[in-house]
Symmetry: C2
Subunit: 227 residues, 2 copies
């Protein structure tokens, strides 16, 4: 359902051109569980932003669910993001003036869920990530790992068919990381597609397939024999 | 040089009181290398902020370098921070409108270093963390791990006698993490004191002593036999 063909992404910094992605071609099928690894700066977040329709490529094509999304307008991309994709950002991106609960309820507004049910579902998902007693805290009243878990809950709450997670456990201890990995496994078992960036092999081991990026290109793409 | 006696820290959220630190007593001597571990929300960053003079305790005393800093004014705390302590924040805290180089030069302004030398030293420290080719990028033009490395460089550039690092490798792959650990080992070998929060045992193993926090209190404080 995710088909990238010769994707490139360039940034301009002053007079310099940074080639964040040099040529990435990749297919991910419905229900796959993929981990993306690679050195800092190798292009992982840039690739995730393109897959998640947060950014458009400089070159190449991206067909998502049989639809060419490579050059869509911001409004069309926003529609796809809100209905089909859940995204856990590497730098959380929570609304600073809203509580954890309000942040997690937000995706359900786009899904047209009524307020009472939004509150129930967001409360349930926050319980799943162990934050029942922090629901009414704003982001600056939460620890780093708690903010990360709010970002995870927000991505999961509308049960997206494609879950993209960029370093979801970077700020979490091993106990909570295991809980998060179980949640992801549940999502995967319900038939959804997961793409996860991580720098930790222990986390990548949960996936069926491991893609390694190097300098904006795919260096290797291997099946994980024992997920 | 760091002496905490029955330190408590409370936050008020609406009508609720959050006891982030319940009673922490702890001594760290000059030249020690200490790792602090514990579950998400256990109080590690709160403790680091008090040690680093970014926050004052609700109760208890803190004597730093023979001086009681428990109830100092913001100005006095700022003076201590800028001259004696280097701090790597869990959420980076870079100036968004300034380049990596400018962000790393900033602590040297407080140290009274002239501009030409500030530039040289900041350039050198950015090279130490592998960011020579990203010096003129602003934070939003950098990857997550690159921002983390700018935060590390900024903390190291004025060779502080006390280095405090809150999850310094949370966004870094194992290769770069090892480079950062070597840099920290150099700082330690020069006689400085290091306190590092981490959730990864592989990183904590570099320290001589491992303190575990649980629910705002010290659960264990053990010597690491093979750092
Ligand atoms: N400004 C604040 N207002 C209210 N509660 C706060 C505030 N800052 C922190 N807390 C609470 O205090 C507790 C300790 O927070 P702290 O940031 O020290 O945890 P931590 O051990 O660093 O966690 P992590 O590993 O997730 O970064 C958490 O439960 C958090 O919700
Ligand atoms: N807006 C931008 N402008 C200029 N360069 C950028 C921009 N965003 C990213 N880059 C550069 O593109 C490269 C890839 O960035 P990306 O964020 O994808 O890396 P990453 O693999 O996610 O790294 P990390 O593991 O550190 O998060 C980096 O070298 C970065 O400096
Ligand atoms: Mg990234
Ligand atoms: Mg913390």
């Amino acid at each position: 359902i995710i088909h990238l063909e010769k994707i490139t992404k360039n940034y301009k910094v002053g007079t310099q051109v940074v080639r964040a992605l040099r040529s990435v071609s990749l297919e991910i099928h419905k229900g796959e569980y993929v981990a993306i690894m690679g050195a800092s700066g190798s292009g992982k977040s840039t690739l995730m932003n393109i897959i998640g329709c947060l950014d458009t490529p400089s070159g190449g094509t991206y067909v998502l669910n049989k639809r060419d999304v490579s050059r869509l307008s911001d409004n069309d991309l926003a529609e796809i993001r809100n209905t089909e994709i859940g995204f856990v950002f590497q730098v959380f991106n929570l609304l600073p003036r809203n509580t954890a609960l309000e942040n997690v309820m937000l995706p359900l507004v786009y899904a047209g869920i009524r307020k009472h049910d939004r509150k129930d579902r967001a409360t349930g998902t926050l319980a799943d990530v162990g934050l029942s007693d922090r629901m009414h805290h704003k982001p600056n009243e939460l620890s780093g790992g708690q903010r990360q878990r709010v970002a995870i809950a927000r991505a999961l709450v509308n049960k997206p068919s494609i879950l993209l997670a960029d370093e979801p456990t970077g700020n979490l201890d091993s106990v909570i990381s295991e809980d998060i990995m179980k949640l992801f496994a549940d999502i995967h078992r319900s038939g959804n597609t997961l793409v996860m960036v991580t720098h930790e092999m222990d986390i990548a081991r949960h996936a069926h397939r491991i893609i390694k990026l190097k300098d904006g290109e795919i260096e290797s793409d291997t099946v994980n024999p024992e997920p």
